[in-house]
Each structure stands twice: as structure tokens, then as C-alpha cells.
Symmetry: C2
């Protein structure tokens, strides 16, 4: 629960953008949800909706990364970490009636070709995720090149599973994606042992 007004606005924006998209969410709805006065938007964000959007992307993208890293840190090994990520994502989807998946994917697709500043904001988040995951695999002894490939694959499987899961209202995609991510991780670990 954020303390000051600015934080409440960013949090409310992040949540609504995640569920309804950027264009589909009005700033009045955000301020009402944040229980903040209307004028405070332009007080804290002179750049208006776009500036708020960039802040929301950064905050929710960073928080999701921390969440995933916490899952990996809590797991006994990296294979379990991968598995727990997909299972946790499936749990969240079910618990939120298939509303909460990736915090920025919807906005990323919306803005990719029409709003360059926001596109860059989403790119920076994805970049950070890739770097973080790559580092995690490298720490497990996988080669740098293969670690990046595995990081990309894991993230793409998760993002693709989110698209299908939300549309189909099923966690079958998450289970399938998790199994593939696990198989790829094991293959990379096996290659490491052979080296």
C-alpha cells in the first residue's frame, strides 16, 4: 500500500494498464482508482498520460523481475526455479480470473509502432529481464551464448503462454510452456556437464 499520492497513481495506472491496456484505460479512471485528485496527475506528471505510462511500465516491470528472482532464490536449484515460475504464473492467473499475467506485454504490443518513448520503456524492461535471466543461467555453469538463448526462450515461452492462457481461459499453455522450458534448461545443463 503506497504511502503518498504519486505512488498511488503509479500503482493504479500499472494495474489498469496491465489488465485493460494503455489506450483502453483513461486517466480519470486511474485517478479515481487511486483516490487521488484529478489535478495531481499533471502536478506529478507534467508529461501527462505518456509520462505516467512510462513510470508504470518501469515500476511494474522491475517489480515482476524481483518477484521472479525471489522465486529462483527460494528454489533448491535452477530447474526447480524454472518450474516454480511457470506454476506460480498459472496460480496467479487462476486466482485473478485470468487478468494478471505479464505486467507490460499488452502495453508493449499496443505502443510498439505508435509511441516510441513508451516502446523504449518496455524495451528497457525486457532487456533487464533478459540480462537477469542470462546471468542466472550463467551462474549455473551454462555458456554465455547458450545462457542468453535459454533466457530468451524461457521469457518467450512465458509471454506466449500468457497470450494463449488469457484468451483461452486455461492454464494448459502455462503447463506446456513450463514443460518445454524445463526440458530446454535440462538440455543446457547436460551440455555443460559434458564440457
Amino acid at each position: 500500500m503506497p504511502a503518498d499520492t504519486k505512488d498511488r497513481i503509479v500503482e493504479a495506472g500499472a494495474e489498469l494498464f496491465q489488465r485493460q491496456g494503455f489506450a483502453g484505460t483513461g486517466i480519470k479512471q486511474i485517478l479515481a482508482s487511486a483516490q487521488a485528485p484529478f489535478s495531481s496527475l499533471y502536478h506529478f506528471f507534467p508529461g501527462g498520460k505518456d509520462e505516467l505510462g512510462a513510470a508504470a511500465i518501469k515500476v511494474s516491470g522491475t517489480r515482476y523481475q524481483q518477484l521472479v528472482e525471489a522465486v529462483f532464490d527460494a528454489a533448491p536449484d535452477i530447474e526447480r526455479g524454472v518450474r516454480d515460475c511457470f506454476e506460480g504464473a498459472a496460480d496467479t492467473l487462476r486466482a485473478t480470473d485470468y487478468a494478471d499475467a505479464c505486467p507490460i506485454a499488452t502495453v508493449a504490443l499496443e505502443v510498439a509502432s505508435v509511441n516510441e518513448p513508451l516502446r523504449i520503456a518496455t524495451a528497457e524492461v525486457f532487456d533487464a529481464w533478459i540480462v537477469s535471466a542470462t546471468q542466472r543461467f550463467r551462474a549455473a555453469g551454462i555458456t554465455p551464448k547458450r545462457s542468453r538463448h535459454l533466457a530468451l526462450t524461457t521469457i518467450m515461452l512465458l509471454e506466449g503462454a500468457f497470450v494463449l492462457a488469457r484468451a483461452l481461459r486455461s492454464t494448459e499453455p502455462l503447463e506446456s510452456a513450463g514443460a518445454t522450458a524445463l526440458a530446454e534448461t535440462r538440455a543446457a545443463l547436460a551440455a555443460r556437464r559434458r564440457a
Copy 2:
């Protein structure tokens, strides 16, 4: 090049929805792009924007499936078909300045939690894709269960790669996803041979 007015409207809507999303595209923009009179929208689509959206999802989703099936039909074997799909998608992304990826993913994420009729329209398209890909793998001798898993994995890798590629303005994700899809396909084919 569609002949009559209704087709032009659907085509224009499909293209704009794909690139800018559903909420981010106005019906006036669609009609202007289709060079159609404003009143004809409600003549052909009494249900307004939502009905047009459902028609656009169905048309572009079906066409994309046919495109992919044509790629597989033209390939000498299923492994090459998988590879050609990802390479073709990468070519299209580069050729369109990272605008044309999945025709319905943006809309699917936007509407999943806020517009049930459109969510169902996207689900029907994804379902058809999954069934089509599953059948394709089964025809190659892979078991039904594993064929569905492989179909889901392939589609998810493509969708996830589209998200990252458009945000990062890079085809690296497509290359990585294609390599993983190919590896999974080969593993499934190898398991078939052992049976």
C-alpha cells in the same frame, strides 16, 4: 484488394487493429483508411465497433493460419516447415519496420478481461491454430498428446518472440525461438522413431 465496401472496411480494421490495437484505433480512422463512407460501418455492422472487431479478428486469424499452412505445404519436411515459419516471420517484421507480427495478439491481450465477445473471437482463432498445428505434427507420426504439446509450444514461442521482437526492434528473439522450436520438433520426431 477487396472488391466491395464491407471487405475494405474489414481489411482496414484488421490492419489497424493489428498495429495499434483495438482501443487505440478509432472507427473514423478505419473508414478513412478503407475509403468508405462513415455511415456504411453501421450499415454493414449494426453491432458497431465490436462487431467489426470480431469480423476483423476472424478474417485475419484465418488468413494467418492459411499462410502458415502454405509455408508447411511448401516445405520438404516438417522440420523445414517450422524453420521457415520463424524465418518468414522475421522477414516480415524487418520488411514492415516491426509492425506486422501476430494479427490478433495485441487485441487478444487488450480484450481478454474486458470484452467477452471479442475474447471469445480471439480464443476461437487460437483454438483453430492449435488444432491445425497439432494435426500437422500428428501427420508426421508424433503421438497425439505430444503433438498438441508441440503445437502449443511452437505457437507460444512465436507469440512470445513477437512481443520481444517488436519491443526490442530486433529479430534475435525470432531466431532464438525458431531454434528452440526446431529442437523440440526434432526431439519429438526422434521419440517417434524410437517407438
